[in-house]
């Protein structure tokens, strides 16, 4: 089954290009630029993984992780970031983020991580 991915970043040109590349690699991707839209989507629809920027307008990255996990504790979260301090990385992991990928990301490394994350959560659920 294809991985259902919600891709969130406030840079429209980034999400659109990355989503197209992920789709070409067999993933079902919804690309959005608004954190509040992401929370709404996660409430209403089912996703295996959210790949999201760590620093965006509207909501702090750590707050977003807490809220996403509150809505769907099984949702896997992969963070995209320019840079993150070690403290932020540890805090993000402690709040439930699965992995962190530095921008600019290598698409094959990222899709591998998404697949492994999805497989791991499937194994735990069944």
């Amino acid at each position: 089954m294809n991985e259902r991915v919600l891709l969130l970043d406030d840079e429209k040109d980034f999400v659109e290009a990355m989503a197209e590349r992920m789709r070409a690699r067999g993933m079902e991707v919804t690309a959005i630029t608004s954190p509040s839209e992401a929370l709404k989507r996660v409430r209403e629809e089912s996703y295996d993984v959210i790949v999201m920027d760590f620093m965006m307008p509207e909501i702090d990255g750590l707050e977003a992780i807490k809220e996403l996990k509150r809505i769907n504790p099984d949702l896997q979260i992969i963070l995209l970031t320019g840079y993150a301090t070690m403290e932020k990385k540890i805090e993000a992991k402690n709040l439930g983020a699965t992995d962190l990928v530095e921008k600019p990301a290598d698409i094959d490394t990222l899709t591998d991580k998404i697949r492994k994350t999805h497989e791991k959560s499937e194994t735990l659920l069944h």
Partner: protein, 221 residues
């Protein structure tokens, strides 16, 4: 070394660090967009090798996106260069309008993350003073940071500079929640250390939702 000097040094270092971090984040974002668009071109090339025809319009759009991002990065690097040069001379004649323009450009990411718009209002003539460019930028940046928490529902900070008989004034406007924002002491020790070196004064008009920085025509460092 007295206490006030320590605060000023720490304030200045923190300012330099915050601006450098912000610019490097922005450049990373630009690189990420270029990376994805270059990756798409690579994907299309692989598809073309398998016989799937290229769509010229799509290629044109990707090229335009890359060029837009290169212009964006160029703007970021130019501002970074201007900012780095502000420490070249302890004091010099500056046009306050240009200082405001630079601080607004350097603050745009911080403002965007907080959902605040910055509106730089034009001044009709040059507002020249002899001052310390770096400490001036630092003070305006700190006041702007405070002002962004005082916008209320409007989520806009207006800024402009004007000439006065005995110097110049920077005015922050549209701060509808100024009274609510000032729960703690303001100006803090950080702003006070910069006001001291710039021989400047800050005043707040809660009713009008405005903050003023009054600067002398010249200072000697």
């Amino acid at each position: 070394m007295n206490d006030s000097l320590d605060v000023r040094e720490e304030t200045a270092l923190r300012f330099f660090g915050n601006i450098s971090t912000s610019i490097s984040h922005e450049i990373k974002n630009v690189l990420a967009i270029i990376n994805e668009n270059a990756g798409l071109l690579e994907d299309y090339n692989l598809m073309a090798e398998k016989g799937i025809p290229l769509n010229p319009e799509r290629i044109k759009t990707l090229a335009e996106t890359v060029m837009t991002q290169i212009r964006r990065a160029d703007g970021l690097v130019k501002n970074m260069n201007k900012f780095a040069h502000s420490v070249d001379e302890a004091s010099k004649t500056v046009d306050l309008r240009e200082i405001l323009e630079l601080v607004v450009a350097l603050s745009s990411r911080f403002a965007a993350i907080r959902g605040v718009g910055l509106e730089l209002q034009p001044s009709s003539s040059a507002v020249s003073i002899l001052s310390s460019p770096f400490f001036l930028e630092n003070l305006i940046w700190l006041v702007l940071d405070f002002a962004m928490n005082a916008t209320g529902n409007g989520k806009i900070v207006g800024l402009f500079a004007e000439k006065k008989e005995d110097g110049a004034r920077v005015i922050f406007t549209q701060l509808d929640a100024l009274g609510k924002a000032q729960k703690d002491e303001f100006p803090t020790e950080r702003e006070k250390s910069l006001l001291h070196i710039l021989n400047a004064e800050i005043s707040l008009d809660h009713r009008a939702g405005q903050i003023f920085i009054d600067l002398p025509t010249e200072i000697t460092l």
